[in-house]
Symmetry: C2
Subunit: 559 residues, 2 copies
């Protein structure tokens, strides 16, 4: 019988009470935090006669691995998104050895070789091949009551400090993901000191600063939201709640105007599973409203059972969250000013939406439809689709990068998951309509990467090559100059171990911070002007540092 | 393997080509048109060990009957709505003889006794009891491509007449449902002549006149929409399409104003299954957009897999359809002015929404949440929930009735499915705020009924007692006087056979038309002033007449 949401949460609490796997285990296990919480032996339909048998424990093991390694691209229901459809119906068309090989070796189409990278053993790839020929287990739903059961306010609002209990500049704090230990590090942007480490969900995807900058919200891949109060003497989780079984996005309400003062009043979480978004009280994380994303694809108008929430950004100009729905290719503008009479605009865009952010004026959302190799432009003022255009193989802008090009005026840019390419396009339809949403420049980077970053006060655009399979390329940083983009990047090897991933400026816009993503990771701080290394932050606590966010830049969406 | 939408439609076409059951068969069979089209042996999960076995042909037979008799109240997924949850999990808690008895005899809670009324045999109630202890078959989805395959334009727009090809007053035509033969009759309101009979979907639920009054749209329970052109010499179906497997509602776009001229440009169908609404070209019925209703309940915010579209009404003042979503208890205002950048307001109301209509100003939607014994008021101008209040056992206003009460000013009213009761409430928050949405009068009718009706030019309110189980009560009509409501109704027996159901005024507002719902039915036309019978319309063609709509009154929402 299917576990109800309540039973599921009880089960989570029981499991969470068990000792967590530490670094003595292989990464593949250390990463299974959320999967371990999720794997309950979900109900499955009858297997095809040709499906290989699996024991209960094998099935659970495979469910662990699937959620860790596969569901991000292929979806919980295996119907495909960034990766192809891998339901049993499809997988039974292939022979087991062929499937095993694909899982072990990967493909040129972007499938990682999980065996080759050491993240799965031969036994595990063999197990996964069999698992994929079996029917898809259906994960449970999660409603308000079950969410409320997981809701904890560790420090009630009345007991929180009225002003900062420390001398640090809150605006210049950084939040760092310590991905594989389910923790976050708060680091002082001025002194580079560790201000504190907090427990978060597992494999946190992002930090978002609240509109005032007082709080950080983190969202774990396991759907756990943590509210971190930066006023406390040591940064502290003051509330938490689990609202999804799988999640990637969180944001806060930023609007203040005729419709009301919503600054830090509400938060929103975007779930992968169940396919829904959840509105929370911004100060206590109490779940308030569930908005299902189950709906039809923008083009063929077919029902999709698993439209996942990719990215959420909060409007500065209106009481709206901009929510990208991956599988259906829709951008939903969700007006949070009246949750009981909820207004939405559902904008047909392109499949499959991934991440994106604002142009410099914060009017246009620029978002990747990465399986269509396109960038999509949505006008949040007129609340409509503007255009989409091809850039390269799987554009991945993160939140993006905006600057003034000497020739083309205001431009924006993206890197690519599928090739070492930065593509620059005009993003000033008013001042430079002839270049708006047209590609104006492109250049090679060190290899397929995840992020690029700049700052209005900087002359530089920083790019990583995290996904490169070439020896050493993923340890490189390449920096372009706005003044002379065509001269090509200045590249260097920044680390001898791990991979370079993600950049963030300090508040002043004169330093760039990046991560050496490794079991024992590092943070490197560069002088943005000279590109010289200023400092390396190390420590036992620096386990798998990945994304990082400066409070000021995140509050104001400076990128 | 599950049938795809395309395969399903092929199957429909094959089945539709077979001779249709005529009146030589029992009603239970004659009604199975849509179920016959639907029953494809949908995929089911593994049965509980205790579930009684069913052969494939028994399962199909039971699926037929279930869709005909049970799904309206219990839902395709059997999770309950107007009736309780009857999934196998619940039904296995009961013994088979107990279940059989309930199905055969009915209950006081409103469950019809299908054996008692002669609509199921002992064998059939025994079969249904077993069927309910087996897992729920999941009906297929239906996307745009599959819908398009069923789309037929019999008369292209260019070939349609430019003006009426007959001398009848189009505004005074009536559309009559001939429920059990899948046909519609168009009758001349002046001469009382039969203008023509057209093929429609099975068990049509409603006719809606287009905004200009030129067309009638009908929606069959089988999800088939028919566009009937009243300009043709004989009324003719000029286009048809099947967009649901089970449906109840259809409407047209009526708005003309700053956002554009949408008069008759678009139509919308509300489906029961798949849970969705579908926007069509208003002139050709070409399917354009599918909007899923799968979403969370308004109160507990739990995901519901089958939120059915109950009622749709078209706003006269804005480019919006007002769509009631039954299971989630939400009213969605769907703005059709830009389908690619679709604006919606989702208003939390009450479960389970059924039917309703406008107040006299056409600003407020008054709709029944009939399992909560409440009427709900939604303000479509401010786009928000106003209030809800208890009236009686299962209010059922149809579209409702609006008049001026000598003491309380503008009022509206509902009858009830669960008791012979008419309840009157103030509906003029501006002029009579002290009575607005307050019950001001109530009175007994002949018994539990379906409809009430009045007209601005009339002094009368007409009520039926169609659902009464008392001998003869469902053959009565009771009429109240607006001037002296408290004097009680004038009631009389209007027929010796069948049941009286549903009223409609002619265009002038001086005649009331009602149906004798029987295999060989009749139409009775009354003089509204004297309550005297003016004419009885009979004929071989008058098979199971039920609902009827006058073009003028439907265009202008006069009730």
């Amino acid at each position: 019988m299917r576990a109800s949401g309540g039973e599921w949460l009880d089960s989570i609490r029981r499991r969470a009470a068990r000792p967590r796997p530490g670094w003595t285990r292989r990464p593949a296990r250390a990463l299974t935090g959320c999967a371990a919480l999720l794997a309950l032996g979900w109900p499955v339909g009858p297997a095809h006669a040709a499906a290989p048998g699996l024991s209960d424990s094998q099935r659970k093991e495979a469910e662990f691995i699937y959620f860790d390694r596969c569901s991000g691209c292929h979806g919980a229901l295996r119907k495909g998104a960034t990766g192809p459809n891998i339901t049993d119906e499809q997988m039974l068309k292939k022979a087991l050895p062929e499937l095993e090989k694909t899982i072990y070796e990967g493909t040129d189409a972007g499938m990682p070789g999980w065996g080759r990278t050491g993240e799965m053993t031969r036994d595990e790839t063999a197990l996964m091949a069999k698992f994929l020929q079996n029917p898809v287990p259906i994960p449970p739903e999660l409603g308000l009551e079950a969410m409320r059961a997981s809701h904890k306010v560790h420090v009630p609002i009345a007991e929180r400090p009225r002003k900062p209990e420390h001398k640090r500049d809150i605006d210049d704090l950084f939040g760092f993901i310590l991905r594989d230990v389910g923790k976050g590090a708060i680091i002082d942007g001025k002194s580079k000191e560790l201000a504190g480490i907090v427990d978060t969900g597992f494999a946190v995807h992002i930090f978002r600063a609240s509109a005032t900058g007082r709080y950080f919200y983190t969202i774990g891949r396991d759907g756990k939201v943590s509210l971190i109060d930066l006023y406390e003497k040591k940064p502290q989780v003051v509330a938490e709640v689990r609202v999804c079984l799988d999640a990637r996005s969180v944001d806060v309400s930023k609007y203040k105007g005729p419709k009301g003062d919503f600054v830090d009043k509400l938060a929103i979480v975007g779930c992968y599973w169940p396919p829904q978004m959840v509105v929370l009280d911004g100060q206590t994380l109490e779940p308030m409203k569930v908005i299902s994303t189950r709906s039809s694809t923008y083009d063929t108008n077919e029902y999709h059972p698993e439209p996942r929430v990719a990215t959420i950004v909060a409007s500065h100009a209106d009481s709206e969250w901009v929510v990208a729905i991956k599988e259906t290719g829709m951008v939903w503008l969700v007006d949070y000013s009246d949750l009981d009479n909820l207004k939405m605009t559902q904008i047909a865009a392109e499949r499959f939406l991934h991440d994106g952010g604002w142009d410099a004026t914060q009017r246009y959302l620029l978002i990747a439809a990465n399986m269509r190799d396109q960038m999509v432009v949505v006008d949040t003022e007129e609340k409509k689709f503007i255009t989409k255009f091809e850039t390269g193989i799987k554009p991945h802008p993160g939140r993006g990068a905006n600057w003034i090009d000497p020739e083309f005026g205001p431009v924006s840019a993206t890197t690519h998951l599928g090739e070492g390419l930065i593509v620059v396009y005009g993003s000033d339809p008013k001042g430079h309509p002839e270049h708006a949403w047209q590609i104006v420049r492109e250049a090679e980077t060190a290899g397929p990467g995840l992020f690029l970053k700049t700052h209005p006060k900087s002359n530089h655009i920083w790019t990583d090559a995290t996904l490169s399979k070439e020896e050493g390329a993923n340890q490189q940083i390449c920096v372009f100059r706005k003044e002379d983009f065509e001269a090509g990047p200045n590249c260097w090897q920044a680390t001898e171990h791990g991979k370079i991933v993600h950049f963030e400026y300090n508040k002043a816009g004169n330093e760039v911070w990046t991560s050496v993503w490794d079991k024992q990771g590092e943070i490197i701080v560069y002088d943005d002007k000279t590109l010289k290394e200023k400092q390396r932050i190390t420590g036992d606590w620096l386990v798998t540092p990945t994304g990082k966010w400066n409070v000021y830049n995140t509050v104001h969406d400076i990128y």
